[in-house]
């Protein structure tokens, strides 16, 4: 059910910006999703089609730009990633202190309108 709540929020934001720009239709939505943020897979398009019937977004397509998680080790300053989706200590020096440089993004970047 998580997808339903998320898609409702996406639709609200898109419609608000569509109306502001006097759109007759919203055709595409470009979302940016960090690897560490909400779990979202292609099943949201299914919810999307359901909840956007009879709205500005009817028939529109969701596009996902996925941002990989990047960590920076606070001890050796090297950068590293998740290994098979799991977080590990720094592969270079085994330190567990790190900053998250990216991967927590979750926003609607732009929309295409007619």
């Amino acid at each position: 059910m998580h997808e339903l709540a998320i898609t409702e929020q996406i639709a609200k934001i898109a419609i608000k910006h569509g109306e502001k720009n006097k759109a007759s239709q919203i055709t595409d939505l470009y979302l940016v999703i960090g690897e560490l943020s909400t779990v979202i897979d292609d099943s949201v398009q299914f919810y999307w089609d359901l909840i956007t019937e009879n709205t500005l977004c009817e028939g529109s397509k969701l596009h996902f730009k996925r941002i990989p998680a990047v960590f920076r080790c606070l001890d050796c300053s090297k950068e590293y990633h998740l290994v098979q989706g799991e977080l590990t200590p720094c592969p270079h020096c085994k330190s567990s202190k790190m900053d998250i440089l990216q991967g927590k993004e979750f926003h609607l970047d732009s929309i295409n309108i007619l």
Binding site: M1, H2, G18, L36, T38, S96, F106, H107, D109, S110
Partner: protein, 221 residues
């Protein structure tokens, strides 16, 4: 002609805005609030019962219980001495700020000094819906296994305190505490942690002491 319009708006912005309003409202009447998250059955309601048992003589406590359908947990909180409000999320796997706002409207807030919110049992969704509560608490329980921090990093990253419940079961299950804590340390260094058992009462006092300190002086910690 297709035209591309820049939006750049966080998906959760509406929820975050409501959460900020809830926080203001709570602060205006000096109610300290915590949001308790965990997987199903980890012991959220049991911890609330224990907390009520210790603190009802000293504080005026309200409990808001989020559940997909029943009111069993709110009933348990009421029996344990709290003023309890049930949120039925109607299938949603988390409480969002709007649901909490509506539940708070049913309380005479100024009569309380502590609000405990039991979120829906789930380790994924509640992490991304802020509620405006002062502290977010996660309960892990021994039978769930020691790999949860690795599998649900978002949940472990953003919480303010971690309770490790059901330590009375440690002798009976394979739970590698060192491996578990290493995962926690990766995600949330120096996270304040309370190993305890709601069944035997072991460790409860440390939790109560921490919580009481915050109710009386929310600026510390």
């Amino acid at each position: 002609m297709v035209k591309n319009v820049s939006v750049v708006e966080k998906i959760h912005s509406a929820n975050d805005q409501l959460a900020a309003e809830i926080r203001q409202r709570l602060d205006s009447v000096s109610v300290f609030s915590i949001n308790i998250m965990a997987s199903p059955g980890a012991g959220k309601t049991s911890l609330i019962e224990r907390t009520l048992q210790e603190l009802t003589p000293l504080h005026e406590i309200a409990v808001i219980d989020g559940d997909v359908a029943t009111s069993i947990d709110a009933d348990r909180a009421a029996i344990a001495g709290a003023t309890a409000v049930q949120i039925n999320t109607g299938g949603q796997c988390h409480i969002d700020a709007n649901m909490l706002r509506l539940a708070i409207n049913e309380l005479d807030l100024e009569n309380f000094d502590l609000l405990l919110v039991e979120n829906v049992g789930n380790l994924i969704c509640p992490a991304s819906f802020k509620l405006g509560t002062h502290k977010n608490i996660l309960i892990a329980s021994i039978p769930e296994g020691d790999d949860k921090p690795y599998k649900y990093p978002a949940m472990y990253q953003d919480v303010d305190a971690l309770i490790i419940n059901k330590i009375d079961l440690l002798p009976y299950v394979d739970f590698d505490m060192a491996y578990f804590k290493k995962g926690v340390q990766l995600l949330n260094p120096d996270l304040v942690t309370f190993p305890l058992s709601c069944r035997t009462g072991e460790g409860i006092q440390a939790w109560i002491t921490w919580l009481t300190g915050l109710i009386n002086n929310p600026k510390t910690a």
